[in-house]
Point group: D2
Chain length 91, copies 4
């Protein structure tokens, strides 16, 4: 991953971990269940965005290199992996 | 898309359309709401599988050709499109 | 379900079945894979909206009746069913 | 939320925050993008399970109390909130 994307990704994940910690406190403090669920959904959406950022970097580096390369099994592997994460994302 | 995948995809979509028609009848016949919702979710899952099949064919044809080609804007376009559909799938 | 919601639901499902048929033709006509995937995702979103409409009617009728009733197993059943469909929706 | 569910929920959220921290280190250490994405997806699934646990408690407490109560606007509010979180979960 490029340095800038990497720093953005690390920063966002740190912020997400803090968000999860704050939800833990909400539950410990008996805050309203629906507010807890909405915060959990906000974290899931933030994680989805980080996943897109990582996939973006991956497509422009490893995937492009492998597909432009001459090893058919490498090409097949990177395409298979994209399908795998797409399949899980779509569930 | 290869002929075999294409026939599979067409066949599955026809079957899914029939499934949606049967849900329409369930609603018209006042069947139990939760059963209707479960059938709707089954159709959504079936559509997700068709989407994966179509993406599989796309990665092995257009995407591979574009990335192995010499037009940087074409390469960027196919990668951007993968990210677009991944983003929607993850919502 | 109330008559108006029922008609809306039936109408939407009929329109969704037509949409699926049109995607089938897109595939048969070799239209661009990404356009096919985007139409599939549009149908999935339309089905999600129908599911919400059906759940809305269900909560205001069967669920309310059961929870206001005096049969604990009925109350448990309707709550369990909400959790079941919520679980699948969140995948 | 009952004491037992509350402890389970707090415990799971603490574990999830630790998981997010470990993904942050994976990115900082330049680990393989697809492995990072798969861990992100694992955290999203773990959060979905916590959300279900919280909703379960909510349905059996606040929702049941409100629907059995005599305030129609309270009943409407709790049903509306269920629809809201269901709608986001289904995206």
């Amino acid at each position: 991953m490029e340095t800038e994307s990497k720093e953005t990704t690390v920063h966002r994940l740190r912020s997400i971990a803090g968000h999860v910690n704050s939800i833990e406190r909400m539950v410990a403090d008996d805050q309203y269940c629906i507010d807890v669920i909405k915060q959990i959904q906000a974290v899931q959406a933030a994680l989805a965005k980080v996943g897109e950022l990582v996939l973006d970097g991956h497509l422009h580096s490893c995937v492009t290199t492998a597909i432009r390369g001459e090893d058919p099994s490498e090409r097949e592997r990177v395409l298979r992996e994209i399908l795998d994460v797409y399949q899980v994302a779509g569930k």
